[in-house]
């Protein structure tokens, strides 16, 4: 079979057994790969209203059809589940080198079910799957240590998906790590790994991925790279990477600062792209990516060198500005600590920023204030181990703010803490967050791109934003079938050129658009089935009603009414009813093959 391996590996942790079954090619045809296949399998495999903490809640590890080839950016992997944090679907994307290795081992996807009777590491070498006790050696290890240990103990070329102590302790924002700095960050997959007593999956594949006539394919990919990816317009990704956003977002008054109380950070120039370029040691790439956006930095902190990849923009925003931290070395260290303990930095920075805010406001003294470097650097360990203030912080932003009677101070949607764009500086992000299928997330639609970066769309109006977000969500759904990274500004024509190799026929842009919309609607059905209602498509009230006093977005108010009106417009344009439920007509039009 070309591109697909046609195989799914099932890992049953309760029984310590594995099995291989054919990939459902009917679904692969309809939903392509990546997000589409994930959602179709989730629909089938997850009993409706399943308690996400139940041992029966599966974790999916999914590749795209181009993983393991030369197609740049397509090595991304999805870790997916019904999130124990949001109660709805969660597809978390991660780069690195795990996805190609999974393909070379002979699988398109892994489905992990059950709960191991004791902490376990699963090793996979091609068709040999083994369950190894994680105690006493691996359990408790930080992420870099467990990766290194498994390279030594299992295979020097092993690629590892692992959790740090935060996952073992079921911290709601514990992430799944690979290649040390790459995180399937959002939605608590790490906590689910921990709950299943699964410390790591290590894999080594020595097989091949077929593509038909490989020499012809190589020549075409070489051309595609030259024409579309390694272009002067796109080289900023390599030259700067995501830190380029700091100045842009700050300049628009949309940089979350001190728990979203301001949109402009006075020390942004100390943690912007220019500042990070000064401490850059090396450029790094994910497997099979010619762009190489990753920055490996080194900086001295208190006589010690802190070295590592990142932080990326979201981390700079949430763990920098949002915590009032303008010290680049401290930020590097905080990022390293979150990586090592195994925690998503967006939620780490959001929760800590909230705790700082509660302290400053005299609501509850957590002993850490905005800009307090000592308290800031002590926090990751406390959070990851649920000790000291960490015990309460591990509630997450929503429950923590609610406990102290100030729910309005928690910046989250569907219990997922918001990333680094304040909608008051970029109005389109309201609906982007509220209608995102996995909760507070910027990766489904990105009005920031035109409201701030290109300036092609006005940032201070809700007009046109329903349609804009719908287009963005459908497009990202197509892209996540690929699974192409956001750092390739791929268009429909380029996607169809690649998919022509996959499907061995001409691919129209219209059918791709349909596939994206189909997948988005399938996700909506899944979420509705799990109990989501229109009331969950909300946004923190404060973002709609309270304008910033200072900065470029000062005085702008979105209003609750405009948001409600545009939410209804969004439903209408989507072909959903007023409760946000897809109509039968829409589902037929899209060829969605499941029903509520």
């Amino acid at each position: 079979m070309d591109f697909y391996q046609g195989k799914v590996l099932r890992i049953d942790l309760s029984r310590g057994a594995s099995a291989v079954e054919p990939l459902n090619m009917e679904w692969a045809e309809k939903y392509v790969g990546g997000k589409g296949l994930l959602l179709r399998y989730m629909w089938e495999e997850i009993p409706p209203r399943l308690d996400p903490w139940s041992a029966d809640n599966p974790i999916f590890v999914v590749t795209g059809p181009f993983a393991g080839t030369n197609v740049s950016t397509s090595s991304r992997l999805i870790v997916g589940c019904k999130s124990p944090v949001t109660g709805v679907l969660n597809d978390s994307y991660v780069g690195g080198s795990f996805a190609p290795e999974l393909k070379f081992a002979g699988y398109d996807m892994i489905i992990v079910t059950g709960r191991a009777p004791h902490p376990t590491v699963v090793t996979i070498k091609d068709d040999v799957v083994e369950f190894r006790p994680a105690e006493p050696k691996y359990w408790g290890m930080k992420t870099s240590a467990v990766e290194q240990a498994l390279r030594e103990d299992f295979d020097p070329d092993a690629k590892v998906l692992s959790i740090g102590p935060a996952g073992e302790n079921r911290i709601p924002w514990a992430c799944v790590s690979t290649d040390q700095y790459h995180k399937a960050g959002r939605g608590g997959h790490g906590a689910l790994f921990g709950d299943k007593n699964l410390k790591a999956i290590a894999i080594r594949g020595t097989g091949s991925v077929q593509v038909g006539d490989a020499k012809a394919f190589l020549a075409d990919i070489c051309r595609i790279h030259e024409e579309y990816i390694l272009t002067d317009d796109n080289y900023w990704v390599h030259e700067e990477g995501t830190p380029i956003l700091v100045d842009l977002i700050n300049g628009a008054g949309a940089l979350p600062t001190r728990n979203w109380s301001e949109g402009e950070f006075e020390d942004a120039d100390k943690i912007n792209s220019e500042a990070f370029q000064k401490i850059r040691i090396k450029k790094r790439a994910c497997s099979q990516c010619a762009i190489a956006c990753r920055n490996f930095h080194g900086v001295e902190l208190g006589g010690e060198m802190v070295r590592g990849e990142g932080p990326e923009y979201e981390t700079i925003a949430l763990c920098g500005a949002n915590c009032g931290i303008g010290d680049i070395a401290a930020l590097m260290k905080f990022n390293e600590l979150c990586d090592e303990w195994g925690m998503d930095t967006i939620s780490s920075g959001a929760v800590l920023g909230l705790a700082m805010d509660l302290t400053e406001k005299g609501v509850k003294d957590f002993g850490v204030r905005f800009g307090d470097i000592e308290g800031y650097l002590a926090a990751p360990e406390l959070m990851a181990t649920r000790t000291g203030i960490g015990e309460e912080l591990a509630l997450g932003a929503k429950a923590l703010a609610a406990r102290y009677g100030v729910p309005e101070l928690a910046m989250e949607v569907k219990n997922l803490e918001l990333p680094g764009y304040d909608p008051r500086g970029t109005f389109g992000m309201t609906l982007s967050y509220s209608t995102s299928d996995r909760g507070g997330c910027h990766m489904r639609s990105y009005p920031v791109g035109d409201e701030i970066i290109t300036g092609d769309e006005p940032a201070d109006t809700m007009e046109g934003k329903a349609a804009y977000n719908i287009n963005g969500q459908n497009f990202s759904s197509m892209k996540y079938l690929g699974i192409w990274c956001d750092f390739w500004a791929i268009d429909l024509d380029q996607m169809s050129q690649l998919l022509k190799h996959l499907w061995k026929r001409d691919v129209t842009e219209a059918e791709l658009e349909l596939a994206g919309e189909r997948v988005w609607n399938l996700g909506r059905l899944f979420n509705l089935r799990e109990g989501l209602t229109a009331a969950d498509d909300s946004l923190p009230e404060l973002l709609l009603t309270k304008p910033h006093k200072r900065g470029p977005a000062a005085g702008r108010v979105i209003t609750t009414e405009a948001f409600a009106e545009k939410t209804q417009e969004y439903y209408r344009l989507r072909g959903w009813d007023e409760n946000g439920v897809p109509t039968e007509e829409k589902l037929v039009e899209l060829g969605v093959d499941v029903r509520l």
């Binding site: 030369n70 290194q148 593509v211 190589l218 390599h238």
Partner: protein
């Protein structure tokens, strides 16, 4: 002779060279049998390229008891850009060491002596396999495409030039 080198400093660890190498030779992506590889420590970002130095090294050829490593004339004209292109020009004439599958007995002598670890037993064909510079269009160079990286380079060494004078045309060791 002409041989490929990976710059430790510039390489980003994307493995494009290995992927392209395997696809060219195996008609499928299979980096575990690539003719070169980049050893990457993801935590420290330490990267080390492993490539065949061809006739400039020739330890495999010297060790082979069956004369199965053959010196073959080659014209290397890489499709992509490479660091030394301005110095060497578009085309480099020289020799490359290739395995004669008919003569190779898979005895493993060459596997032991290769200083860069790039000659192995092929898992399917059970003979030695190594870099042959892709018949003159090295895919590793073609796919090191980022102009800010260009980590895979084509080099020649002094031994090459001498050999070129003394070994005209097709030759065996």
């Amino acid at each position: 002779m002409p041989h490929v080198m990976i710059s430790r400093k510039k390489c980003t660890g994307c493995h494009m060279c290995e992927l392209a190498c395997s696809a060219y030779h195996e008609n499928a992506y299979r980096p575990s049998v690539a003719r070169l590889f980049s050893e990457v420590n993801p935590t420290t970002a330490d990267i080390k390229g492993h490539t065949c130095l061809q006739t400039g090294c020739a330890k495999c050829q010297q060790a082979c008891p069956h004369d199965a490593i053959v010196t073959r004339r080659i014209t290397v004209k890489p499709r992509g850009f490479f660091e030394s292109k301005e110095k060497l020009g578009d085309t480099v004439e020289g020799y490359v060491l290739v395995v004669d599958d008919e003569k190779c007995t898979n005895c493993g002598e060459c596997y032991e002596v290769c200083p860069t670890g790039v000659i192995h037993e092929h898992p399917d064909r059970h003979v030695a396999f190594k870099c042959d510079l892709c018949d003159g269009d090295p895919q590793c160079i073609a796919f090191c495409q980022n102009k800010y990286v260009y980590a895979v380079d084509l080099k020649i060494d002094r031994k090459d030039k001498e050999l070129l004078k003394t070994v005209p045309g097709e030759a065996t060791a």
